[in-house]
Symmetry: C2
């Protein structure tokens, strides 16, 4: 019984790792669409999101079945509930990639991000994608050390977001309101992807150690 | 055993109703701070958020205890897991109110929202607050009909968000980039409060009927 439980739990964590891989692709392609203005790539991200949603449903169904049939307690129970939360975070990261892709699509044949602020947006996207990639490994290996290190990567995202605001609101900004609003919202979406990545990493810490590294929720 | 279970479950739903009341206050005061530029009100929202976070932790602890000690199955299990998700949604709505209050605080002694677009922002805030109030009753009464009706209120939010973008991006916009970015982000925050309200309402439908009214997740 207990062995069956852990096999099924491992299968759920394998699914979470796979979903994280899909999210990584979504973030990467959404950024590519954003920086190139390619509508086909934007559409690909938007239409692929349904697969992430379906994968989430499968994980939820497996987790319910596991709770119903095996009735885990203590740390096993916490792990299953944590898996349910991780899959919500991952699905939300997919949705946020769709938001990025939709801004890209809205500005075709132009590119939403003016050249002047492109390095900052590109770096935000890189940090987000890197965090998603790390989270995939963190889930697969249940690696607490790497999970705790992710918070420091997230600090760079905060700095980048501040930098982007400083550019938008400076007197030198010559790209008008539309580009400024796009960049502000894009910053918000990448920041939220990063927040959810930290949240997933924190749940891995909780699963392994039984302790919350800090609030399990993304920072306000 | 079963009776004790349902008493404890009712207590959790009472807590959810109370948290929803705190969120309603947070949304209302954040909007007041935003429209008046009053820093004391903004600070009150920001500092009160820790109470919502603590209330969420208490609900989580109660739900875990219930799962551990009573090992519910089938619809009882679904209800406890739904409660865990509802409390996450509610806490996030509190965080989003804090974001609104922080924009208000950032612009003191000025008001972030230019008079021209004030009616739209005010209406968005009213819709959000109204949705939170309705959700409180929906949780308390487990009212499926009211829960399903909430989707239509959410449609008004979508329209308002589109209206606000049309104003920001029109040639008549004379309030510069900073105000436009503020209004775009405020629109996003109120929209997300509304999304989470719909999400909570959908979970109540699921708890009562065992069916998802549509995707339980907030629309992308």
């Amino acid at each position: 019984m207990r062995e069956a439980f852990h096999e099924q739990l491992d299968a759920i964590f394998d699914d979470l790792t796979a979903i994280c891989g899909s999210v990584e692709t979504a973030v990467r392609l959404a950024t590519e669409a954003l920086l190139t203005g390619d509508p086909t790539t934007a559409e690909a991200v938007i239409s692929a999101d349904v697969e992430i949603d379906r994968a989430r449903e499968r994980v939820e169904d497996s987790a319910f079945l596991l709770l119903s049939l095996q009735q885990p307690v203590a740390s096993d129970l916490r792990t299953v509930v944590a898996a349910l939360r991780m899959v919500s975070d991952l699905e939300r990261m997919g949705d946020l990639s769709v938001h990025v892709a939709k801004i890209a699509r809205l500005r075709v044949p132009n590119v939403a991000v003016p050249a002047e602020i492109r390095p900052t947006v590109e770096r935000m996207a890189q940090v987000a994608e890197d965090m998603v990639m790390r989270v995939g490994k963190i889930i697969a290996d249940r690696n607490v050390e790497d999970a705790l290190a992710l918070v420091h990567v997230d600090e760079e995202m905060d700095t980048l977001r501040r930098d982007s605001f400083a550019s938008l609101l400076s007197n030198d900004w010559s790209h008008g309101v539309e580009a400024a609003v796009d960049v502000a919202l894009l910053g918000r979406y990448y920041e939220r992807i990063a927040d959810h990545a930290v949240s997933v990493a924190n749940r891995v810490v909780f699963v392994v150690t039984g302790e919350h590294p800090r609030s399990v929720d993304a920072p306000a």
